[in-house]
Each structure stands twice: as C-alpha cells, then as structure tokens.
C-alpha cells in the first residue's frame, strides 16, 4: 500500500516535472525566436546588440531605438496573435467536439474583419475601438454559423459546421469587397491588414489589445479541466458534475475575446487555430490543461516563425503572414480530413 502510494507520487512528480521542463524549453525557444525575429530585418542587427538593447539601453543608439520601437512591438504582436489563435482553436475544438474547428473555418475571422471594415467605412476608425469592433463581429459571425449548422441535416456535425462556416465566410468576404468598392480610402488603409500581416506594428496597438488578450486567457485557463470533460459529450459532462451550458458561455466569450485580439493585431490569419492544437496533441495527449498551455506557447512560436519567414523568403519584399499560414495550414487541413474522414463520417 505504502509502496504503491509512493510510486504514484513519484510517478506524478516525474510527470509534472516533465511538463515543466518542456514548458521551460518552449519558453526559452520562444525567447530565442523573438531575438531572431528582432535581429533580422532591412538592416540586420547582431543578436548581441539586441540583447544589449534590453539590458543596457542607450538613448542615442539608433540600433537600440529600432529594436525597442519598431521591431519588438512587431515580434510581441506576432507572439500574442499566435497564442490567442491557437488557444481559441483548441477551445473551439473541445466545445464543438470537432477536430476541424478553427476560428477561420468557422467564420469568426471574417466576421471580425467585416465589422472592422464596416466601422471604417462609417468613419469610426479610431484604433482604440478596433478590438471591440472585432469582438462584436466575431460574436455575430460565430453565432450565425453555429445557429445555421444546428438547423442543418444531422445537426452541428463537422461537415455542416465547416460548410456553413465556408459559406458564411464567402458571404462576408463578398460584403467586404462591396464595401471596399464604395469606399476607396478604407480599402487602401485596410488592404494589407485584410490579408493578415504584421507590417508596421506599434506599441500603441499592442497595448490596446493586451488587456483583451489577458482577459481571454484568464477566462480560458481555469477551464482546462472542464474542456477535457466536455470532449466526452454533454451527457457524460453532466454526469461528472459539470454544467455544460454555463461553462460553454465562458469558453465562447474567451474564444471571441482571443480571436478579436488576434484580428485587431494582424488581420485574419487562417488555420493557425487548426494546425497548432493538432501538433501539440501529438506530444501532450488529450488533457486540455497541458494542451492549452502548450498551444499558447507553440502557437506564439509558430506565428513568430511565420512572420520571420514572411520577411526572409523574398528578402527585400514582404509576403503577407496570412497567406503563409493558409499555404501551410490548408494542406494540413486536407491531411486531417483524409485521416479523420471515417471517424468524422460516423458522427
């Protein structure tokens, strides 16, 4: 008896420490990526100088100013957007019990983009309000897709959710095109943003979005246990003492907040919320407490890497990060469909 308890504790301790070690590794890799991201650019800055800028900042050094005022906000925005999208994707996958859920595929991204464009056309393009506008749009589009899928044959299956998400996305993008036709100025301002890009990030944007991101993360992280239980189905969740409806509201609110903060920073970045959770599942398993943590870390690293790649690939020019995430994510999505095809068909 004694032996067994000891073994269990030992086992538990080993497991926790392994998680911690992996998390620490991820964090340090993330820091390294941030440094690389900052170091690379139109004028390469040595990594040593980047570190110097943090430790020993000198007001008159041009390089230190570039690092702190231009490059660092961009890197941090990329990390923020990546973690937000990945966590939103994980939570959506748990709540909809759908391995193919993603803020982009379910129409949330295009909803927030439309809302931001709409307010821009109406003349309310004050930046402070962009995250709020994005949240309103995401909420609207998400509810629309969910409602439509629920009314379709067979209920909200992965097929119906994806199908109604794709249709709603097509509709909302057509409306965005229409609005842009009427208003050239808004189109010119938002053209780059609409494809998903981190060009020209400033501290101001970052700090306006940060509270929303923090709120979303604070809401979702305590729900890890509930998310795991929700994947077992509503009946089982009820039997285990979890009231699905109340928790679902909290989870959806945080998904909306996180999606909106990502959109406000970078515009729509497709498939991040789909790819990252599946990669993370490969080594964490199905426990959503660890899944959430690692999705946030690896999602941040992924988008940082994507943005770095977007700047490196065609060096003097920049490719939009949103295009790269789709180019990587869409084949991944197709592979997932091929793998889960049979399982998905039976539900």
């Amino acid at each position: 008896m004694m032996l067994r308890t000891e073994l269990a504790v030992q086992h538990l301790g080993w497991r926790v420490s392994l998680t911690t070690v992996t998390a620490m590794t991820c964090v340090s890799a993330l820091l390294l990526l941030v440094a690389l991201h900052v170091a690379f650019g139109a004028r390469p800055i040595p990594v040593a100088d980047v570190v110097q800028a943090f430790i020993n900042f000198q007001q008159d050094s041009m390089q230190h100013l570039v690092v702190l005022q231009l490059r660092l906000p961009r890197a941090l925005s990329a990390a923020l957007a990546g973690s937000a999208l990945a966590v939103a994707g994980v939570s959506l996958q748990a709540v909809t019990r759908n391995p193919l859920a993603d803020p982009g595929l379910l129409g949330l991204l295009s909803g927030s983009a439309l809302c931001v464009v709409l307010f821009g056309v109406l003349g309310h393009s004050n930046f402070a309000w962009v995250p709020v506008q994005a949240a309103v749009g995401a909420l609207f589009a998400g509810c629309l897709v969910w409602w439509l899928a629920g009314r379709m044959p067979g209920g909200a299956t992965p097929l119906m959710l994806t199908l109604s998400g794709a249709t709603v996305t097509a509709l909302l993008s057509a409306i965005i095109t229409l609005l842009n036709l009427f208003n050239d100025q808004s189109f010119n301002e938002l053209r780059v943003w609409l494809v998903g890009s981190f060009t020209g990030q400033r501290w101001q944007t970052f700090f306006w979005v940060l509270p929303m991101w923090l709120l979303g993360m604070l809401l979702i992280f305590p729900q890890g246990r509930v998310l795991t239980i929700l994947t077992l189905g509503e009946d089982t969740a009820g039997a285990l003492g979890v009231e699905p409806r109340r928790h679902k509201v909290t989870i959806l609110v945080s998904v909306i907040l996180l999606t909106a903060s990502a959109v406000a920073l970078a515009g729509p970045l497709g498939f991040v919320g789909l790819v990252i959770p599946h990669v993370v599942r490969l080594f964490t398993g199905a426990d959503y407490r660890t899944l959430l943590l690692f999705s946030a870390l690896i999602g941040a690293g992924y988008v940082l890497g994507i943005d770095l790649l977007a700047r490196v690939l065609f060096a003097p020019r920049e490719i939009a990060a949103g295009l790269l995430t789709v180019l990587i994510g869409a084949p991944w999505f197709m592979a997932l469909v091929l793998r889960h095809g049979r399982a998905g068909a039976s539900t």
């Binding site: 439509l148 379709m152 067979g154 993008s173 009427f182 497709g270 020019r317 789709v326 084949p331 091929l338």
Partner: protein
C-alpha cells in the same frame, strides 16, 4: 434530393407531365425579359427607336460592324453592339456553363453540394490564368487553355486524394474541396503580391468575377464551347437517372460506368474552366441552378440539365444587370453580387432540405 429522381423509371415508360412544358415556358419568358431589360437599361439611355433600328441593322442586314457613323443614332448603336450585347451574351453563356458544370458534378458524385468553386476546380483554373497573365507566358486571349489545364490539374488532384484512402464519401469530398480552394486562392493572392503591377491590375479585375471587359471574341469562344458541351452533356445526362440508383445497380443495368463517369467529369471540368477563363471565378451558380431546377419539379435528368443552364444564365445575367444598374456609375462585379445572393440561398436550401430529406443526406455523409 433523391426524391427528385425517385419516381423516374429508367427503362419503363416515362410519363411526360404538362407542368414540365409550363416550367420551360416560364424560364424562357424570364430569360427573354432579362435580355430585353439588359439591353434597355444602363448608364447610357437608349431610346426605343435607337434600340429597334440598331438591332434591325445588326441582325437582319449584318452591318453592325460598319454602322453609319455620321448618323445621330450612331453612339447608341455603338453602346448597343460594342458594350451591351457582348456583355449580356457573355454573362448568359458563362452562367449556363457554370450551371452545366455544377449539374454534372452533382449527378456524377451523387452529392447535392458539389459545385466547381466549392470543389476547387474554379480556383485551379483561376490560379492557372493568373500565372498566365502575371508571368506573361503568352497572349492574354489564350488564357482559356491555361484555365483548362489548371482546372483539370486540380480536379485530378482532388480525385486522386479522394480515392487515395478508398472512402468516396460526401464529407471528405467537400472538405477536401474547401481546403483545396483555400490553398489555391492563397497561392493566387501570393502571386498577385509579386507580379508586375500592370499585369496584376489586369488579373485583379478579372478575378472578382466581372463581365464588363468582355468583347465579341469572348462571346465566340463561349458559344463555341457551349454548343459542343451542351449536346454532349445532354446525351450523358440520360445516364444520370440510372446512376442515381447507385454504382452497383447502374453497372448491373448495363451502364459502362467508368467511361460515362470519366466523360461527365471531362465535360463538367471543361465547362467550369471555360466560364472561369472568360468571366473569372464565380461561386454558387453551379450549386444553386440545379437545386432550383429540381425544386421546380422537373424530374428527368436531361430536362433538369436544360432548365439548370437556363436558370444559371438568368442568375448571372441578372447579377450583372443589377451590378451595373443599382449604383449606377459604380460597377459591382457580377461575382460579388452572385455570392451575395447565392450564399444565403444556398444556406436556405440546406436548411430546407434538412426537413424534407435529412435521411438521404445522412446516409450519404
């Protein structure tokens, strides 16, 4: 969906209902009305006399290329013959081709949700055309061949992926198509960021699905392809009634299924490619037109095919008419407008069919 075909007796006597003829008359009437309206309405006001005399000279005397330029009427004639008529014909023919493609794809895959743009065929054609235009591989007029190539490549890829795991289900087919079309559109946008600016602008206006740059050469291309594809598809559509009963049954009844399916795919893909090459990718037309045709109660597949092409023509024609007249100096591309109308209609159809025949959906999914 399947109840539309259910009462067809493939090799028995097929009763012709009088309502079919009525439906066709109505469709023809709407089409005619649309043609008249499209000729009449526009930012340049054509008087009735200009219209009639212009049409008279053009059609019956064959002199529209050397119209009297000194005449006071002549500017109206130019508007009529150089702008409105080619544009109208392009819109109608492209709509008909999209509908034909959608109809064949839906019958072939026995999947009520198949559509050239949902499956990625249109996007494949669009990508090939953008490569053609941006990298300046040849004359812009020959882009139809690039479109054909791209459409066949993407169709082949999807077909391969679908058969790769031996699970030809509706679910994987549609989801793969969605992934494919997203991937191809991202590639297209990436190309557009890097191309030469002039050529990119050229490609951009084409990509939004607009009809306003078309001329008589496009009309000739489209009508040539249409006059080949429609009779072929008409013949092949007769098999669809039997194919609807399932592959095993169809083979048992003596249908050379592999060959028929291959031909149907060939015609569906080339119709979508041609329409895309001229007017750009237009979503939801190929999806919607066959559904509407079935909803009118026409049961025989070849009649459904005819009615679908008429409805497709009406849809694109009216989208173009609305796009150029509603906000008059501003031109809304027909592709945008067709999505604005098509997406809600598609969702409505999906929700409605759930009540009528949810079981048929589930059995296929």
């Amino acid at each position: 969906m399947s109840q539309a075909f259910a009462r067809v007796q493939p090799f028995g006597k097929i009763e012709t209902s009088r309502s079919d003829a009525f439906v066709f008359y109505m469709a023809g009437f709407v089409l005619l009305l649309l043609v008249l309206l499209s000729i009449r309405l526009g930012s340049y006001h054509l008087t009735m006399t200009e219209l009639v005399s212009g049409l008279w000279y053009g059609f019956w005397q064959g002199e529209w290329q050397n119209l009297p330029t000194t005449d006071a009427d002549s500017s109206g004639w130019v508007v009529l013959w150089e702008f409105r008529l080619p544009r109208l014909f392009c819109a109608l023919l492209a709509g008909a081709l999209f509908a034909l493609s959608g109809f064949l794809l839906q019958g072939l895959t026995r999947n009520p949700l198949a559509d050239p743009s949902l499956v990625g065929v249109s996007q494949g054609a669009a990508l090939a055309v953008v490569i053609w235009l941006v990298s300046d591989l040849g004359q812009p007029e020959h882009r139809q061949w690039a479109a054909l190539l791209g459409a066949f490549a993407s169709a082949a890829l999807i077909q391969f992926l679908n058969e790769y795991r031996r699970m030809p289900s509706t679910l994987t087919f549609i989801l793969l198509g969605i992934g494919m079309s997203l991937f191809l559109s991202a590639l297209t946008s990436a190309l557009l960021t890097y191309g030469d600016l002039d050529r990119v602008m050229n490609a951009l206006s084409w990509l939004s699905g607009s009809v306003h740059l078309t001329d008589w050469r496009d009309v000739t291309t489209l009508s040539l392809w249409f006059s080949v594809l429609l009779p072929c598809s008409w013949v092949l559509a007769h098999y669809l009634a039997v194919q609807q009963l399932g592959d095993v049954m169809a083979q048992g009844l003596g249908v050379p299924l592999r060959r028929i399916k291959r031909l149907q795919l060939l015609f569906a893909v080339s119709a979508a490619a041609m329409a895309t090459a001229v007017v750009g990718p237009m979503a939801f037309i190929g999806l919607l037109a066959p559904h509407v045709a079935r909803r009118f109660g026409v049961r025989l597949p070849h009649r459904q095919l005819l009615l679908s092409t008429m409805i497709g023509a009406v849809l694109v024609g009216s989208a173009d008419l609305l796009g150029r007249t509603l906000w008059a100096p501003l031109q809304i591309p027909a592709g945008v407008l067709s999505t604005l109308i098509g997406a809600p209609a598609f969702l409505f159809l999906l929700v409605r069919t759930s009540r009528a025949s949810s079981s048929s959906f589930r059995s296929k999914a």
